[in-house]
Symmetry: C2
Subunit: 142 residues, 2 copies
DNA sequence: TTAGATGCAAAGACTTTGCGCACTT
DNA sequence: AAGTGCGCAAAGTCTTTGCATCTAA
């Protein structure tokens, strides 16, 4: 339920001894209500519907705090800006280098790779942060 | 042989009807001689050893051209700048989110994932462009 | 000769930081 | 009351673009 996820975020902020502000509520609400992978600018614009003068710098600071609390993760996608989303569901990203679309896929697709990398290189893959570049089905055929 | 790879690059530029300039030779030489994954700034500085007044903008333009000719590929790694390297050996990157080290691994590690993504999502993974975030062996234990 | 390539400088996109005031606790 | 968090503006980093000049072919 959306409302619960929002309260979870607020609680986590409070539990960490930080203050719950209008701006944080607005950003949290955007993250909960908008399913997409959003850039900081998109989040800012959307948050301004709830708190009209939230500034980009505040949004960056809030996203940084939410990431520290493992509420949010970011990914680097194509050439553009960093995108952020709730940490809830563990998943990876497929990013089309042609049209820019991002496809979310369950993290189980990385199970085998993850084990392989750990065994071979001692490298622990970050399952929240995987972004694979390539061509989506549509662009591949076009 | 380094010299051959350099000549291959020059030939490819010529074959595409573009001009072979001092700046292009310098950038090509840097890419061939320095094994690392370099940022545009690092490439510029290194290239200036061979052509003292190569400018960053020219390096960006040259890298763009080399990418168009499939001579060079780039990857987005951590929060920092884009890194470039020769397209020669197909490989992926493991990037430690703690210490920033980049580990090159043979692209066969992505064979299974690649087939899986193609079958499940019709997504053709770009094998030159894979960058996986996580913790390297040293940072994982620390 | 001549069109592509370059260097420089300015602009652009994205993000971080400094500062004084406001708001949460 | 106390100090965290805020908005604003400026600075910072990385990259692209405009333009006059130079140069490879």
């Amino acid at each position: 339920m959306d409302h619960d996820r929002l309260e979870d975020i607020i609680s986590a902020v409070r539990a960490d001894g930080r203050r719950v502000t209008v701006a944080k509520r607005a950003v949290a609400r955007v993250l909960v209500e908008l399913p997409d992978h959003l850039s900081a600018e998109e989040i800012t614009r959307a948050a301004q519907r709830y708190a009209s003068d939230v500034s980009p710098s505040t949004v960056y600071r809030i996203l940084e705090e939410f990431e520290r609390l493992d509420l949010v993760v970011h990914a680097h996608v194509g050439h553009g800006a960093t995108v952020y989303h709730l940490a809830g569901a563990l998943h990876g990203h497929l990013v089309c280098t042609n049209c820019g679309v991002t496809i979310e896929i369950p993290s189980r697709h990385f199970d085998a790779l993850s084990g392989d990398l750990l065994k071979t290189y001692g490298f622990r893959l970050d399952r929240h942060h995987v972004a694979i570049a390539g061509l989506c089905a549509r662009c591949r055929d076009a």
